[in-house]
Amino acid sequence: MTVSTTLTRAIVTADESGTRRPGRRGPDVPARAGIKARNRRETATGYTFLLPWIIGFVGLTLGPMLYSLYLAFTKYNLFTEPKWIGFDNFTRMFTEDPVYIQSVQITLVYVLVGTPIKLAAALAVAMLLNYRDRGSAFFRSSFYAPSLIGASVSVAIVWRAMFSTDGPVDNTLSFFGIEIGGWVGNVAMVLPMMILLAVWQFGAPMVIFLAGLKQIPKELYEAAEVDGAGPVRKFRSVTFPMLSSVIFFNLLLELINAFQVFASAYIISNGSGGPAGMTNFYTVYLYKRGFADLQMGYAAAMAWVLVIVVAIIAALLFKTQKSWVHYAGENR
């Protein structure tokens, strides 16, 4: 390593000797000038390679973010100039817009109920798959498939058909004596149905859990067994701490994803957010305000509230992780 670095430096310096300015003397000076030139060249190369990303970041992320921050304080319908209205959008949201409040409520229910169930299912199945290696590849793939297609329009259409009145789900349940009478048009049941759709896609976090479980040394379980630990104790003292960084990662990712559910809710309700606003998730309402009613300022303000909420959740998670997330190689 050292040899090759020295060699490289020597060669690079020699290579740059051609561009060295005349009049410099001494063995030190040209070498330093060479490194400087090299650094400059590295920087130029770095930015060249990064150019598409930088254009994208400035033009499609940073610029739009700043512009939407400005729009959040304006009234703007796409055709007339944005009109500055201060915090009006925000105060209207929380004091004069019951649809917004309902949208926040159902989104929170969806996120706070759906995500833990989804992650619990993912972890349970991952632990089951981790029990045996042979044959588990097939199951792993089968369980992952829904995650890949879950947000597609096709699946939303299937879901609507499966949960319609007298659909397959209803019929199976009534066979067991449970009468729901349709989920799609049912104000009480449409949100649980959406949560089931989310839980159905447990495969993605499951695969990540499984990879984490495979990293846990078997000796830890053996040691716990020697100490007489039961399954609950083993989970609490070995699995959970060893898996906590993966749990943290999955939790963060799934929470953020759940806030952004759109296509399935939009399709299942035919774009209406119904019945009675029960599928009017945050992003569906944002879309309707922005692109159907052309209230771009209001929609921008909504988007910023979402960003702030996501940032707070991420910050809280990062803050609490010290108390429960355990990283390998860290002293406890």
């Binding site: 090759s4 060669i11 650094n39 920087t43 190369t45 770095g46 390679f49 990064l50 598409p52 990303w53 994208g56 970041f57 499609l60 992320t61 739009p64 973010m65 512009y67 939407s68 729009l71 045996r132 199951f139 792993r140 793939s141 089968s142 369980f143 992952y144 498939a145 829904p146 995650s147 297609i149 947000a151 329009v153 096709s154 699946v155 259409i157 299937v158 879901w159 058909a161 009145t165 159905w200 896609q201 495969g203 695969v207 990540i208 990879a211 067994e225 399954p231 989970f235 999955n250 990712l253 953020i256 952004q260 296509a263 399709i267 035919n270 879309y287 692109f291 771009m296 910023w304 979402l306």
Partner: protein, 306 residues
């Protein structure tokens, strides 16, 4: 793991210690029983998880009149009329057109994503330059940013540029590495490649471009394949993008066209709707069967969203 499993595991341990002879056979028997239970439970989960998809496949062979009366799996009077009907298209646009549109967008998206993400990833992983730390942090930051905060200004921008109702707003961002997931995935992959080889190439006088093309690109093929498959599938499934930017039915990709079927025919022609849903899903399912290794491993190592 159940209580029973661990009880058995513990008794196994004791038996091996105390009475190795008879325990051996019993242990094997218990292990077999456990494996059978394991297998049955997982098969049950598989059945539940895959049922909606299997139901969809069979439903495409049901005549529309059967919907609402026969919620079961098998059609009473199987028919392939749905497929014939669907092939005609809708609103004067033939079905193949929607497929071709989706394919065009997805292929361009894959090309753009691979090109821009690999370039950016190489710079982040291998080039030392001023500001790389801040830029990398910014890239990671965009991973967590809800993209709804940028769709409104982006829409206004593309509208001012008069690019609405073209594919530019759907494709251009892919050429500018806006999907940070893939940049991150490739960065992680490059970081795992030993530096010795690029050092050697440097000694031989190769520049960054040369190292990138001749050494790094061939070595990151698995990461590129994973990114390509995911980009294809996500683009193929994308609904919000085309819903915003594409207005002309003849330019619709499948998901938006599906909505057309769904809206206009949901009451009368359920058969056609499920048939076209299945056809739209088919390429992805084929992709999945062929590339599932890459997909599942890609998720396992990098935690991609589904």
């Amino acid at each position: 793991m159940s209580t029973a499993t661990s009880e058995i595991a513990r008794s196994e341990f004791l038996e091996v210690e105390l009475q190795p002879e008879p325990a051996g056979r019993r242990r094997i028997k218990r292990k077999t029983v456990n494996t059978v239970i394991w297998f049955v439970v997982l098969l049950a989960v598989t059945a539940v998880v895959l049922y909606p998809l299997v139901w969809l496949v069979f439903a495409t062979f049901k005549p529309s009149s059967e919907f609402g009366q026969n919620p079961g799996l098998l059609p009473d009077q199987p028919t392939i009329d749905n497929y014939f009907k669907v092939l005609e298209g809708i609103g004067g646009v033939p079905l193949w057109r929607f497929f071709a549109n989706s394919l065009l967008i997805a292929v361009l998206a894959v090309v753009g994503t691979l090109f821009s993400s690999a370039l950016a990833a190489y710079a982040f992983a291998r080039v030392q330059f001023k500001g790389v730390g801040i830029l990398f942090a910014a890239m990671i930051g965009t991973l967590l940013l809800p993209f709804h905060v940028v769709i409104i200004p982006q829409y206004i921008m593309f509208q001012k540029l008069e690019l609405v109702d073209t594919y530019w707003p759907l494709i251009l961002p892919k050429f500018l590495a806006t999907e940070a997931f893939f940049v991150f995935l490739i960065v992680q992959f490059i970081r795992n490649i030993p530096r010795d080889m690029d050092e050697a190439a440097k000694i031989d006088g190769a520049g960054h471009w040369r190292i990138f093309v001749s050494i790094i690109l061939p070595l990151i093929k698995p990461a590129l394949i994973t990114s390509a498959i995911f980009t294809f599938i996500w683009t193929w499934n994308d609904f919000l993008g085309p819903l915003l930017y594409v207005n002309s039915p003849e330019l619709y990709p499948l998901p938006v066209a599906l909505r057309l079927y769904n809206d206009q025919t949901s009451s009368s022609d359920y058969g056609a709707t499920v048939a076209v849903s299945f056809l739209a899903l088919l390429p992805i399912l084929i992709f999945f069967v062929v590339f599932q290794r890459f997909l599942v491993d890609g998720v396992a190592t990098q935690g991609l969203k589904g």
